[in-house]
Symmetry: C2
Subunit: 430 residues, 2 copies
């Protein structure tokens, strides 16, 4: 028992890999004690050997070819911190699992894209494939779904899965600044990358949500997902919804309704008094609605080397304890081929905003389009803008089919009285 | 692999035992698939055999003597749902572990009192002793500390660990009703037991906090804990602190300061805008401050058969997977004998309230007592009550040693101008 050890290769030494390397060196003893097995870093590899990293790597530890880690017999566990769904990361993880090495990764893009195939190989070869760090950094949501909340039939999971976009939206609200002003600020503060397009477009949330969906519903990863980013949100919208008692958040939702799964990522109006509305800045928060447990919330730091290392080490520890199980909670052959449905068929209450010329007949034309498309209006506010000779028409609808809401946007967008692309933001009142 | 099974005895068939029994019957298949092992209920036992429970128990399943479960060779796991730190529950769990049976329990009183001895036996006999359900019901805090957050050095854990007292305080605030009015309401709604003394006195929180302390700091369970309940909180206090931007919550705290552990349970003033202040009603919430992860929050249903079953089944699943490890995260011989210190030595900012006769010299006498006892005043508000000829003197202090704050209360309580027992409520601004 005393001398049991696990030989590790860390591939990729950016911010996260470097932090993890130092963490494992420093905490080897306590991790060994807690898990009854020694985490032993045997090899490291990264693109640039000569880069200054602020810590020493033994010559014998360095692998010139990162793929050697998958071939060397002594290696038990490969930690993939390269990133990206293709290329080196893909090659490394596929080869590692094929060669019966455990894999721990923080790579959401890779898992969201190839998770079905990868988990099949892992299961066949009886090795672990763990990816806690791929979803919401330090928030232990995957381990909670696999273990702490294992008893539950999940009906819905949703939340704030991207700190950058949440920082942008909450700062636009608090500081009354424009999207671009806040984005530039976020870059300076290190809350947004120099190319933040995956964060802003919803793609980052989309990858995380696909992984969570699989874990919650014992289903395969599925690309039927509606994804909308936050670029089109402006201060006018934020002010408008505040007057109505809402905030705008970029949320990911996955839910089962009448045996169909709906996956969606979009800006959402949520009540100011709700829990999710209170999460500002770069934090992440996940809300799980399960039977029998009811609603559970897990909240924490979503990114950064510290939070990511916390997640990586929880996976490493699980492997140290020999806690082998299925990557997606359940055997590949038991994963269900559940049907996923496009959100066009789902019902939403929604906020719509039309910037129109201030002339007679416009309002009646708009409301007419609504009634012809089976959408009933709950609330209508018209704000004249005298300087421009235009009006803002804000409509809150009753529950309506998404495709009709979108159709209305399309129809009214073509009208000559419209001076700006109309807005549609879905509401979540649950 | 296919035919592996775990034979279970459920002892105690109250609300929770009955719910769990039905749950395990209904979910046997999915739990077997997820954990690669069948949870098989071999025996049940409870005080009253003939009681109507709304479900059938086979004659062969019923044990007349509950202690037989600890002797029968086929039994692998005993689930203790009797309750109480002594008597039948104690006998059952000690005997079970001695006879190399795994144990899952929801019994916080037992674990808080005998956890040190019990975990030693479990470790020696290489069986599991799991108690997720003993702390905060459906909130998977123990599994998160043992697994999801295992990488972290915890500095502080605190939160709302008792739904009944939180319901009472939040209803007093929202409805402007007295303690007793709200308590009676809570009993009618099933949010308080007919004898709610453990909830109101802080004893329930105390047991939970002792367990969490052990898990967070790798220390032994320790009885050096300051415990205060909520009985002395009145509407006057709630109104006063609201004007100052605070709410009153019954919180449990455990923290390491200069290598000493402080455990404390008491009503606490926290900023209205803080996360904890927003948790109203019967919910539980735990905030963990760890390095490297930062602050994590887990929130959910703290009680009831549904939430408790969710926790019990997470423990049962862990045992089904053969995930044997130490009950308190680390081997008995590695658990640290850390020093616990009485909170008299800790510094707090505090709210003090004195009901005094409205006559000259009183205020200067009060402030004089403060300065003589090294407590400096941050804010002082005097509200005259003309009908009674009395005054309310409310003082917010700067950080001061707890023993001096208490000494001031004692000294001023003896003064002839005091007409009601003075109040002291500690503030948490972190």
């Amino acid at each position: 028992m005393k001398n049991k050890k696990l030989n590790i290769a860390i591939i990729g030494l950016g911010n996260i890999g470097s932090y993890l390397f130092k963490y494992l060196k420093k905490n080897k003893k306590i991790l060994s004690k807690k898990n009854n097995c020694i985490p032993n870093i045997l090899f490291v590899s990264a693109k640039n050997k000569s880069k200054k990293r602020g810590f020493n790597i033994n010559k014998q530890q360095w692998l010139n070819n990162y793929l050697d880690a998958t071939k060397i017999k002594e290696v038990d566990l490969i930690i993939e911190l390269i990133g990206g769904a293709e290329g080196a990361a893909k090659k490394l993880v596929f080869n590692a699992l094929k060669n019966k090495k455990h894999v721990v990764t923080a790579n959401k893009a890779l898992i969201a894209k190839y998770g079905n195939q990868l988990s099949k190989i892992a299961e066949k070869n009886k090795v672990n494939l763990e990816f806690e760090a791929s979803v919401c950094g330090g928030v232990p949501i995957i381990r909670s779904l696999k273990e702490g909340l294992i008893a539950n039939k999940i009906n819905r999971i949703f939340g704030i899965f991207n700190g950058t976009s949440n920082y942008i939206l909450s700062s636009m609200d608090k500081k009354n600044k424009t999207f671009n002003e806040v984005l530039n600020e976020a870059k300076k503060l290190g809350y947004a990358e120099s190319n933040p397009s995956a964060d802003i477009s919803g793609e980052d949330v989309s990858a995380k949500l696909k992984i969570l969906t699989s874990l919650c519903f014992n289903s395969f990863l599925n690309n039927n997902i509606h994804v909308e980013g936050i670029k089109h949100i402006d201060n006018e919208d934020i002010k408008n919804v505040r007057k109505l008692g809402y905030k705008i958040k970029l949320l990911g939702f996955s839910e089962i309704i009448n045996n169909y799964i709906y996956q969606r990522v979009h800006p959402t109006l949520i009540k100011e008094s709700s829990y999710v509305a209170s999460i500002d800045g770069v934090l992440n928060a996940v809300i799980v609605d399960g039977d029998p447990v009811g609603k559970s919330v897990i909240q924490g730091e979503g990114a950064g080397p510290e939070a990511t290392t916390s997640a990586l080490v929880s996976d490493i520890s699980s492997i140290l304890r020999g806690n082998i199980k299925f990557p997606f909670s359940i055997s590949d052959k038991e994963r269900k081929k559940l049907k996923f449905r496009n959100i066009t068929e789902r019902y939403f209450s929604a906020y719509l905003r039309f910037e129109v010329l201030d002339k007679p007949g416009v309002l009646s034309n708009i409301t007419n389009v609504f009634s012809k498309n089976y959408v009933s209006i709950k609330r209508l506010i018209q704000n004249p803008n005298k300087n421009k000779g235009s009006s803002s028409v804000i409509i809150i609808t009753h529950d309506s089919k998404d495709k009709f809401l979108n159709k209305i946007i399309k129809i009214i967008n073509k009208k000559s009285y419209v001076i700006e692309k109309p807005k549609l933001i879905r509401i979540d009142d649950n």
